[in-house]
Symmetry: C2
Subunit: 395 residues, 2 copies
């Protein structure tokens, strides 16, 4: 007989899931109600308006897809693309490559704008690519690359897409709630995110938002959306206005309680305050890990405060260090992904996990375990560096 | 400012979600750990083996899809079908029609075996259709039609599919845990279910199971699966054996805590005991509602004990009755769907919700509200009928 599962509490400072606010865990355990219950319909309306706030948009079609972030990505491509479409995909990490895979599977032609991992998407390259491909219909890029910790200039990239009459698809999985996301100001046409990053909710849902132009494209398709589950023409009928909901699939009721609570918390704190908090904790973590002697792989101007990608000291077995951090301190940090596997660690400071206790703890846990592994690091100076960084920003 | 959402506790006796066992709600609120954490990998292994037990199968590929039941349906079709394939779909309710929609969107040809809503799939019609369509490659049908409350003979239908060299796809959304499901004994090739029916878990995941022959078809595809998110070639890499997991998407960690707990509860009770409990409570509910004068629309031999579809007394506004049941007694029962809309109620007795307290409560709440609406029903006899039915089965 299998017994109940009681996980060891961890501190989650990897690339996500991040530490979940206890208020959200409590919300998950509230009594389940029906997915057509009038109270649930009120919840859906509130989730929509809170997501509009989080994305800074008035887009009517702003809803959570009932599946994780990669299903949110797929929702955008499967609804906006048709077979044969030419799509410009900017690739500077794992998630840009996943977009390319989506385009190909859906029978489209992907034209790549490639930048080195760890650098942002080049607006100039995008422009010259669009000049050579006047028949492109979509531009897709990642705002915050979770595999490298790089921020790209979403406003500039969306403006170029618009100039060339392309719809834009923006991956905001790791950015939403942690750094500035302003869909309407950017003029973005479709964006998707995840719940388990800077919203500090459990993984499993993917908030998306589509502009009027994007909705018009979905509604005027000549071929049906190949996915029944993700067809927004059907999903809109369920997430539509007021009481006139048409049953589509059974909504993940309790997961939506969690998302609702996470958005209530974000509204209470305020977007600017949340962004500022992420930045301050990033500066303190940076001071600490640089004092140890580790280096950031991303240039200062393009660093994500919520995802810190740092080098591994020479001669250190990075997997053994992560294993010891987990077994001794119950601390999870992330490994490198793709071409960066084995070369970097990814330290997340996302949402609820972005706080001074975690910063100090992580820096000291790293110092402790690296010392135990005889790594060449500077000892005994990191704690003070963290303290100084917080004083400088007045925290 | 939006405030936290605190739903009114309901008794869920519609077509799902059903009442969730409080043990499962507690499990959902346990601390989130990483989706690559060794403890989480142990959880995944346990979920797999518990699902093999629930489905009565040794199929290696027995996992939960990270999205609701309709995504489980789509997973089966998108992986097993290729464009141009001829698929026999048995239709005797809403969910058979949804299968047809899946086949068409994926570029297949759907050949329908149609039976009246409220009757089971006819094995003879399936056989004669297969005789006329030797080039068919898949037979798909619904084991337990949630829209009508009918059980079809899965064993007979799978055997016919096999005889004609077709893979079978079986919808077990409403059957798993409530009535006999034995994939290996049936020789079924692919089955999918939901968590929010007889497993009494929250909605959001879809357990699936594929036979060796089905996995071989997925692995030997000539065209890629059009969905990246649902491509089992990738999903298998993450749900594979032991510690060698390849990252695919971020698993819905806490939702899996819930599913794990629901399966632990099922194993503790035992499958036969669970099936028997569903049958006994169905007999008592039946005695009560028939005493009131309501009639079942499905012939006795094909009734699902977990989904009781009954007629509405003449002249009664069925929507008003459901509204009053919800507002006065916090009791949810289901409306009719599709051609049965306005004509029937669907009373669920699924999983944790299948218990004598709910049966007696529902029968009496119906009597109370119908009396208040001056319906022509037999009054004052239902309670005794329920009691008598329980004595007869020795409960």
């Amino acid at each position: 007989m299998v017994s109940s599962f009681n996980p060891t509490p961890r501190t989650l400072m990897g690339p996500g899931p991040s530490d979940v606010n206890p208020r959200i865990l409590s919300a998950l355990a509230r009594p389940t109600i029906g997915h057509l219950d009038p109270e649930f319909i009120r919840l859906m309306d509130e989730v929509k308006s809170l997501l509009q706030f989080a994305f800074q948009t008035e887009n009517e079609l702003t809803i959570p897809v009932s599946a994780p972030g990669s299903a949110g990505m797929e929702t955008c491509f499967v609804n906006l693309m048709s077979p044969g479409d030419k799509v410009i995909v900017c690739v500077n990490g794992v998630f840009g490559n996943r977009m390319v895979d989506n385009v190909k599977r859906l029978g489209g032609e992907a034209v790549l704008v490639e930048d080195q991992w760890g650098t942002p998407v080049s607006a100039e390259k995008l422009r010259s690519t669009l000049e050579q491909h006047a028949d492109a219909v979509i531009v897709a890029f990642v705002h915050a690359e979770t595999s490298t910790g790089v921020r790209s200039d979403a406003k500039a990239l969306c403006a170029i897409a618009q100039e060339f009459d392309c719809l834009s698809i923006v991956d905001c999985v790791t950015s939403l709630g942690g750094i500035e996301v302003k869909l309407d100001e950017w003029g973005a046409d479709a964006a998707y995110s995840g719940t388990q990053k800077c919203l500090s909710c459990v993984p499993g849902l993917s908030p998306i938002s589509l502009s009027k132009a994007a909705v018009a494209r979905v509604q005027s398709r000549k071929t049906p959306v190949s996915s029944w589950f993700l067809d927004l023409n059907l999903v809109m009928g369920y997430w539509g206005q007021g009481q006139t909901r048409a049953y589509h699939h059974t909504a993940p009721v309790n997961a939506l309680y969690g998302l609702h609570e996470s958005l209530v918390i974000l509204e209470e704190e305020g977007l600017e305050s949340s962004w500022k908090r992420h930045q301050h904790n990033h500066l303190a973590l940076r001071a600490g890990v640089e004092a140890l002697g580790l280096k950031f792989i991303v240039a200062e101007d393009f660093r994500l405060p919520q995802l810190n990608t740092v080098t591994i000291p020479d001669g250190v077995d990075e997997g053994a260090v992560r294993k010891q951090l987990l077994s001794l301190y119950n601390l999870e940090i992330g490994a490198g992904l793709g071409v960066l596997a084995g070369k970097v660690w990814r330290i997340g400071l996302m949402g609820y996990a972005s706080n001074p206790r975690n910063v100090l703890f992580c820096v000291n846990a790293l110092e402790s375990v690296l010392s135990g592994n005889n790594a060449h690091i500077n000892r005994g100076v990191a704690t003070e560096a963290v303290q100084k960084a917080y004083s400088q920003v007045g925290v």
